[in-house]
Point group: C2
Chain length 327, copies 2
């Protein structure tokens, strides 16, 4: 394969918010199929199409199935499930689409390694800064129209020309994408930002509000988490693309000035509110694992990782039948 | 004043669980008055008496008022309000009962200093390990019949004979008490235990279950908090009475073996469930203040202190009108 327009058939695996935004937009410039978790959603998507509102307004037509074996052939697979579902989903893709390129777009670190264990596809790493709201199985609202960043995953030697073609396709579809020769610095910037902001949000149940940058409130703990992450990155030889503390300050300032009733709800807080397992093992947990590998102490990150896992455990435990008031 | 039986009139300030357990029992061996927050509770207590069930079974008769100026004279005042209410309550006692001894029984550190700013009463420090459930304004259940420990507060040079007399009175009433010449080692053991266990419980919403001593779960974060507290105690020249980590292991083992449906709910988790301000400033916050005073780093304790304050802030903020799903 060489030259332009090689990617004509795209399969989006996972139809959550990010998957729906990608599938909907890409259906305007490519043949799109979607792998859903529930058969009911696939049926509705094939019947009604996928409506996008907000920053884009259209209804895309696409193929959809809940059975990986029924997927039509594709040139590009975009795995847009949550990190917590990745092992299960990647296992189901094993042996499929041997000629395709696969792109991972999970929060945190480690998605590529996990997918690579299930096939020898060339892999593209991605981090996305766009966001939206999934109003139903067939309707997603496109809200924050910031970019998705792509880069070749070095161990599979994915050609940069392929990454650039995927970025062009995404841009042509109405979303924003940018291709990077080395995505690692940007991945780590976002990892460290999320390790701090998502963790603090999950434990306090606060959306990403001004208190996160307020020295009398949460700034010292956000900074402690970010400083630990930066120490790990430095020891791992990663130069960051953006400073995660500046990302925190800017994001909070944007929320304050634009809309008084608006505050970004990090995905882990969404999970806590819904009592769903969070992606903490792939975010703060990934920082802890990398810290152990490079021999850096990260006491605050290790603590919030375990506290969030404890919070998840509380949902399974329920409340004890017998409650005592403590001394 | 010298000799035995000098304390005949006791005023219990605050009629929560601990205050009600003390007032009810002491009414069997002394004239007891109670200062309540709500006039309605005082009226009911004077009319119906205070019923105690559980480990004790009786109804005590006592005086009660919500107006400090109406309190009858007393020899011993026991201030049993939450640490968060102490400043307000102590201010209202200013100028009252100049001949009385005052006893503080709050969680954490700093209650004595705060009370001392409002009067020159000799002060008794206390920590309690008993617990119960307050079923109504006039009914408290006595559950865990462990002791209350008392000691003279050194800056007011309270005579040890007075402390011993108070301990005898409490024991005679049907509760358990023990007098210590120096309570500081026991206060700090409980402070450090609570700084770890109450904080982890408040953030995870788990009662004090086996996960708190499980190395694959919360033990590393509980131990990190305890180790920071122990480093502060050592730097402050305090030798601990009990090892807080052993207290954690024993408490969890007791819960496991005694009743499968039982797990102790630390007071700060009660507060989180009720969306009430917690005593974290007097517990983990006190460790952070002492750490700054003696020049010890306590990054994990500082983080959980601010995270719990952030959690409290989330109740005032409410949920934003506009909710976004994060990338």
């Amino acid at each position: 394969m060489d030259g332009a327009q090689q990617i004509q058939r795209v399969c989006v695996i996972g139809a959550g918010t990010i998957g729906s935004l990608l599938a909907g937009h890409l259906s305007r410039v490519a043949e799109v199929s979607v792998l859903t978790r529930r058969a009911e959603q696939a049926t509705r998507l094939e019947r009604d199409g996928l409506s996008v509102s907000g920053k884009s307004e259209f209804t895309g037509r696409l193929r959809a199935t809940a059975d990986a074996a029924e997927l039509p052939a594709f040139d590009l697979g975009i795995i847009a499930v949550k990190a917590t579902d990745l092992e299960h989903v990647a296992g189901g893709l094993s042996g499929l689409a041997p000629g395709a390129t696969m792109m991972t777009i999970q929060n945190g670190l480690g998605a590529e390694e996990l997918v690579a264990r299930h096939g020898d596809w060339p892999l593209i790493s991605a981090v996305t800064f766009m966001s939206g709201t999934r109003h139903s199985d067939v309707h997603v609202e496109y809200e924050l129209d910031t970019a998705t960043w792509l880069g070749p995953w070095a161990p599979t030697a994915t050609p940069m020309t392929t990454v650039e073609e995927v970025a062009r396709l995404i841009n042509a579809s109405g979303l924003r994408a940018e291709a990077f020769a080395d995505l690692v610095p940007a991945q780590w910037s976002k990892l460290i930002f999320n390790s701090a902001v998502n963790s603090v949000s999950a434990l306090t149940e606060l959306p990403h509000v001004a208190l996160f940058a307020d020295e009398d409130a949460l700034a010292p703990v956000v900074r402690a988490l970010i400083d630990e992450g930066k120490a790990v990155a430095a020891a791992a030889g990663v130069e960051l693309y953006e400073d995660p503390w500046e990302m925190n300050v800017l994001a909070v300032a944007r929320g304050e000035t634009n809309r008084s009733d608006y505050a970004h709800v990090p995905s882990m807080l969404e999970d806590v509110r819904a009592r769903r397992r969070t992606e903490v093992d792939f975010i703060a947990g990934a920082v802890v694992r990398e810290a152990a590998r490079v021999g850096v102490e990260v006491p605050v990150t290790a603590a919030v990782h375990r506290l969030i896992r404890g919070r998840e455990a509380s949902w399974e435990l329920g409340r004890p039948a017998h409650v005592r008031v403590a001394s």
